[in-house]
Amino acid sequence: MYVRGVVGTIAACTYQDIIPEDEAFNRDGRLEQYYIVRFGQKDLWPEYPFENDTVQTESPERWLEPAD
């Protein structure tokens, strides 16, 4: 995944969904929040030439950890 280890900002909370481990059971699974996270293209690709460009992807909470 191209954003691994990169710091981004949360652009939106989207929905809650059943965590994958519980998905097979289809009911009363534990939920987790999903987020849209925004990254600067320059933070993803060091030689990216345009300062302002960004990428947004959607991530489940378990993929995120707080930045310092």
């Binding site: 191209y2 939106a12 989207t14 929905y15 969904d17 999903y34 849209i36 925004r38 293209q41 690709w45 345009f50 302002n52 460009d53 960004t54 990428v55 947004q56 992807t57 959607e58 991530s59 489940p60």
Partner: protein
């Protein structure tokens, strides 16, 4: 051509009289695998009937209508930005179709991305080509290729340039990767020269490519036209050579 249901005719031939004068092996294969799948219990004939009807019912006209209405009705636009799935019902699109809980690819989490004079969105699904089918219909073939999906995140401006869209450097290009259950559509900036246009006139210039973000709406442009895609690596600031051909509508 009339058909009677025979035993084992579990899928039926769900199409109008063939438009070409021969029965191809591909046509036969599709029917055969579908019948075997139904007999095996992988899905039911009713499932298939319902999804086929739904597939035939969706197309980009709905998205165009949504954009045109958002351009002319600020309160509607606010509702779109607040809860896009709910706002779609106002234009006759129900994201819960055809199962009551959406499809296993579109789900029910639409988000509309509003462009501004300093922000241009473009949409991709790097994982598999997810697309807001209830509003835009079936995705175009170029959107499904690994060529587009791998390159747009890394080289967005080059890919846009191949579509004939050059974005000024001071405008932010924001790539939206729909890699989970949200589905996205671009609400482009309303172009100049459309003052006092009716919603119908506005909808005509909002083509599918404008709602993906690889084209901008403008007066007089009522169809998506692409050159044949050949690039397999980024092209720096390419001007198109060769002729543009109408891309096959998906």
């Amino acid at each position: 051509m009339s058909h009677t249901h025979k035993p084992g005719d579990s899928g039926g031939e769900r199409h109008a009289a063939p438009m070409v004068e021969e029965v191809t092996d591909f046509e036969v294969l599709e029917i055969a695998v579908r019948e075997l799948a139904i007999e095996r219990g992988l899905f039911t004939a009713e499932d298939h009937r319902r999804f086929t009807e739904w597939t035939e019912s969706v197309g980009p006209a709905a998205g165009s209508r949504l954009v045109a209405k958002a351009w002319t009705d600020p309160a509607f636009k606010a509702r779109v930005m607040e809860d896009a799935v709910k706002a779609c019902k106002e234009i006759g699109i129900d994201w819960a179709e055809p199962t009551g809980f959406g499809t296993p690819s579109d789900y029910m989490n639409l988000r509309v991305l509003e462009d501004t004079p300093t922000l241009h969105h473009v949409i991709v699904c790097t994982l598999c080509s997810c697309y807001p089918r209830p509003l835009l219909g079936m995705s175009p073939e170029w959107y499904r290729t690994t060529n587009y999906r791998r390159r747009l995140v890394r080289w967005p401006r080059q890919v846009l340039a191949e579509f004939g869209l050059v974005v000024p450097p001071e405008v932010e290009v924001r790539v939206e990767d729909s890699n989970q259950k949200c589905r996205f559509m671009v609400l482009p900036v309303r172009p100049e020269g459309t003052e006092n246009w009716t919603e119908e006139q506005l909808a005509e210039i909002v083509t599918r490519d404008c709602m993906i973000g690889v084209a901008l709406p403008r007066p007089g442009r009522t169809a998506d036209v692409h050159p044949v895609q050949k690039a397999s690596r980024p092209v720096q600031g390419a001007a198109h050579s060769g002729e543009a051909t109408h891309e096959r509508e998906e």
